[in-house]
Symmetry: C2
Subunit: 635 residues, 2 copies
């Protein structure tokens, strides 16, 4: 086995078999995006491709065996992620159908709904996930669509009472979905019970809107031409009482509402929490797209020569310091996020335990998982946008041509920073998890609800590590003294990340605590003045989680040469992350001016060290050759 | 007049009349991009729009009156820039035809070529600018296409001797151009004379390739669907001797080559220097596109409400601290770059003096102008990409829909960082201008040529200011002592920018000086190790140029209220620029930890102060209402 193989095995992680299978299986399908198709043709082609995925087992993987699924959530999200390396539109459509729509039915529904799952898997029933409204995206609790129970007929009546309550940007709603999982304010006997989800048929078998339903098309977008995003307006649409996905709240024939979770907020966040796979998939898929772009840009840097010492000797792009500075830290970050993503998927898989017996109360772990999924989605999608953009520029004018793949990835990945929640809102969610003494009566995602519950003390937040904690603590304890070369020591890096997180959290908490007894207006003001600080909590937390995951991933790597290489990549990730926030480390006396200056030369030394391994590093991503079919890489 | 009007007048600058005319005149044409068109239809539509521009006078503006032009280069680039606010494809096609192709004929040709200019203006002669090759983009001196003089027939023979010598990404070459201005290595009597430009017919009146010419289409791109980028391969294509654009080098009937500039390098860079308008237009147009995106995002922030102190009170996006932090510094930077762009255009206009009598030797001013044009193009196009991307994200999922304009701007502007030279290469060019004792025998753009000529001393580089220098020096001299509030003082800001530039240049020069006597390989090594430092010279130089231009622009503003507002915007630009490089200012003892910490709170205070003026600020851009026709801004 080559070093690339060993690196790839380390990066592939636990669902390596799924990745390997996808690499060959998907390469056998005809998935290359065709820009000459009209919007309508592109959508039909993507839909046709979706059908070809059914036999791969990926669509079934995320559902319980007893429902006809594969009982393997890890496989489900890994399989979706792999699609992103072939075509992002296909990845999104698959994610909508099996992840979001299927996930809502599986997780929010009960037995009578679970019977639909086989049809969802094999595409006999195509659905959409109608959560976002024109007026509210990330603030799901404020959705305005209503589902009012009509006791006389035993039906729910679905309405879009305001222009802002129109369902918007809904994947599959433009054309292919016949049913929508509609999130709406549940009203029965004149009382509101918060947001619930109902199955609402929207189109007949000929694709025409059903009575009271008005769908429309979102039209052209910045990318994702194969996805039919659409809008839905409901005017008195009636569905049987049984269409309520009633695992967390049910309405009986007489209109009485009952729920196993009394607190409305807690119920809402519990429901949302079951849908975590969407965020996990979005983060992972954006990362997969970035890997494709970096693989193309990396190979191009090893092929393209420009300028040089004299007229006859042109130099490879990869040998220019500036080019190394642009390319290698992005590759290192992609490695880091992949290790973190693998860890996230493994934890999600374990916690969801979908085919296993009921487990003890896992509320704490579930909240941690949600925070990580949100934070990694935010940081990972931003990284992907940045890496793909830089890859485009690193390929010059050629990078702008569709035949070289990167421009399309760039267009497609753009919306991932918004999908499944705006990144800034998600980082606030992470911060909230870190900052609040999250109790039964936890506040919503609203700013005031958040500051109300800031914990009295946050001293132990960072120390309370799980999984990898022993290894991490050992490294931190073993770190050398403060001489200037200690910045390459993993323990020193971990300690710097941890210490920064702890400080940022403590100071943010101190600023917010004043709000805990204030009136709403004033509490909002206090929150708002600290908002950039709060979001920073989320960022530095994820930086630390990622470095720990990378460290743990290296510890699991069985090949010593691969582990050595990964150690340097990890240091490049750590040091370039520190470099980006250097003013903080200096201003807070975590790094002296002298040590701060060493960072840049240490990074340059790492670039020199990693340069000979550039091809190995991009091969390590394991991007299938067929998806690297960029004209600039052909001879 | 409203405050917005006064601000707009200040920003409009000297060619305000051109801007005002374009705003109404272009709004009267049907220029909104239609995403439903096929690639071919989109190109035909853009070409049809191009014809509608002829009567506006903008196409003629850039040519001498005696050649049938308008004698107003400032109007030419301002007019092109305004097109970018309506449709970027149209801007690019206009820039190619009248700026690049027409500019080559006007500036590199002589009388016999100038006779063509009226046909170029009115589109009877459509051309393309065939400089870039598959193998060489930014390194123009290494182009491989040859133009060999055949004494027997008195013709030049044009050849593409290698696969890399294919002309590539050439606008108008995909379909509409009948003639190409071809840059090629001139060979006569077996001797090479460097890159020259020749007019080569490529298509007959039916659009078919002429004998020996093979054109092809670059196909789909990341954006700019209305532009027909293409490739051209030449195989023994013969053109009369007179087709050489022979202002800077001519070949007589006997094949003897003569040139008014003996040194090959100097001749080459003089020729390139006459084509400066392309870079000026690209930078300005990217800025104009960013203004459209920020105008949409700014207005949306004043309309869209999310979350809030309680369920009934949702808060405007514009009132969130994080949103202000994302939006307002980008607006401030767009203001700053517009003032710098106006100054650049005014200097270019004055120096080109196209209808005036011959002037004294302006070589020094010309080099300065080229450095600024290159640097502002680089920094301005990166800013535009970033501002448009952030605007997209600030509009959430709606920002991704083509109906809201921003996604298309984002796709179209992407390649501007590569157009007219890769931004990193351009910043190296700026650095070279700052670092070298630029003499008659100046080296090329190649790294070794560059380090060979690093000046013995660079002490006075920054001090040698032109135009605005008295005002700037007065402000610097009048700055208060180092108390913590002095960071809002313009003199203090200017001094910080100037001091940083001086230090970065001096230290870079010191690193490079070792190379002046080294062998090529070693000299390259020394350059390469310092490459990130060299590029940083270009960045910090442009930061200073921009701050000075903003300062000078405020001094020219006649309305006191507008000037007051602009002063705050300028401080926001200055402080957010310092904040982005804070580690440098701290590490080099330019800002104490204490003063460094004040930066963030001063920025937040400026955000509070500017928030009530958000609408005024975006209205100040003067983006025509018709180009702001985004669905999310309609009621």
């Amino acid at each position: 086995m080559t070093l690339s193989d060993e690196v790839r095995i380390a990066l592939d992680g636990k669902w390596r078999h799924v990745r390997e299978k996808s690499r060959t299986e998907l390469a056998g399908l005809d998935l290359a995006f065709d820009h000459d198709l009209t919007l309508d043709q592109a959508r039909e082609r993507t839909f046709a491709q979706l059908k070809e995925l059914v036999p791969t087992g990926v669509p079934a993987a995320g559902f319980k065996t007893e429902h006809g699924g594969g009982g393997d959530p890890g496989m489900a999200v890994t399989g979706i992620e792999m699609l992103a390396q072939f075509d992002m539109s296909l990845m999104v459509k698959a994610g909508v159908q099996w992840g979001l729509f299927g996930g809502a039915v599986a997780n929010l529904g009960t037995e009578r709904h679970h019977a639909l799952i086989p049809q969802i898997i094999n595409l006999d029933l195509v659905g959409c996930f109608a959560m976002t409204e024109t007026g509210h995206g990330s603030d799901v609790q404020s959705l305005e669509t209503t589902a009012t129970f009509d006791q006389a007929t035993g039906e729910f009546v679905i309405d879009s009472p305001t222009p802002g309550s129109r369902k918007d940007y809904i994947g599959n709603a433009g054309k292919h979905a016949s049913v929508a999982a509609v999130f709406a304010q549940l009203i029965t006997r004149g009382e509101r019970h918060g947001v619930h989800c109902l199955l609402v048929p929207i189109r007949d078998e000929h694709g025409a809107d059903l009575p009271g339903v008005t769908t429309s098309d979102c039209g052209h977008k910045g990318g994702l031409r194969g996805v039919d995003n659409g809008r839905i307006v409901f005017d008195g649409v009636r569905v049987p009482r049984e269409n309520l996905l009633n695992r967390y709240g049910t309405v009986d024939e007489g209109g009485a509402y009952t729920s196993p979770i009394e607190d409305t907020n807690r119920r809402f966040f519990t429901m949302l929490g079951t849908l975590i796979r969407g965020r996990v998939s979005v983060g992972g898929s954006a990362g997969a797209a970035a890997e494709v772009a970096l693989s193309i840009a990396g190979r191009y840097a090893l092929k393209r020569r420009q300028f040089g010492p004299d007229a006859d000797t042109e130099v490879l792009l990869a040998d220019y310091r500036m080019h190394q500075r642009r390319l290698l830290p992005l590759i290192a970050r992609s490695y880091a996020y992949r290790f973190a993503q693998n860890q996230l998927v493994a934890r999600m898989h374990k916690l969801q335990n979908i085919d296993g017996p009921p487990t003890d109360d896992t509320a704490q772990q579930q909240r941690e998982l949600e925070g990580r999924a949100a934070g990694l989605k935010a940081m990972g999608t931003w990284h992907a946008s940045r890496a793909i953009q830089e890859s485009r520029e690193m390929c010059g004018g050629a990078g702008y041509l569709s035949e070289n793949r990167i421009a399309t990835l760039r267009d497609d990945v753009d919306v991932f920073t918004t999908f499944e929640g705006d990144n800034h809102v998600l980082l606030q969610l992470v911060a909230k998890e870190m900052l609040t003494a999250y109790g039964q009566e936890v506040g919503g995602l609203d700013p005031v609800g958040m500051v109300r519950f800031v914990a009295g003390t946050v001293t132990d937040v960072v120390k309370e590590r799980t999984a990898a904690s022993q290894l991490i603590q050992r490294l931190i304890d073993a770190r050398p003294g403060g001489d200037e070369h200690d910045l390459l020591d993993r323990g020193t890096q971990l300690e710097l990340f941890e210490d920064r997180e702890q400080h940022v959290i403590e100071t943010a908490a101190r600023r917010l605590q004043r709000a805990s007894k204030a009136e709403p207006e004033e509490a909002f003001e206090i929150f708002n003045n600290a908002q950039d600080h709060v979001i920073r909590v989320g960022r530095v937390h994820i930086d630390r989680v990622v470095l720990e995951a990378f460290t743990a991933g290296i510890a699991r790597c069985e090949d010593e040469d691969a582990a050595d290489l990964l150690r340097d990549v990890c240091s490049l990730y750590a040091l370039s992350t520190i470099e980006e926030d250097l003013a903080w480390f200096m201003g807070h006396n975590r790094l002296s001016d002298q040590r701060a200056k060493v960072i840049t030369s240490e990074i340059n030394a790492l670039l020199d060290k990693l340069r000979p391994h550039l091809l190995t590093l991009v091969e390590g991503f394991g991007v299938p050759e067929s998806t690297l079919d960029a004209a600039i890489l052909r001879d």
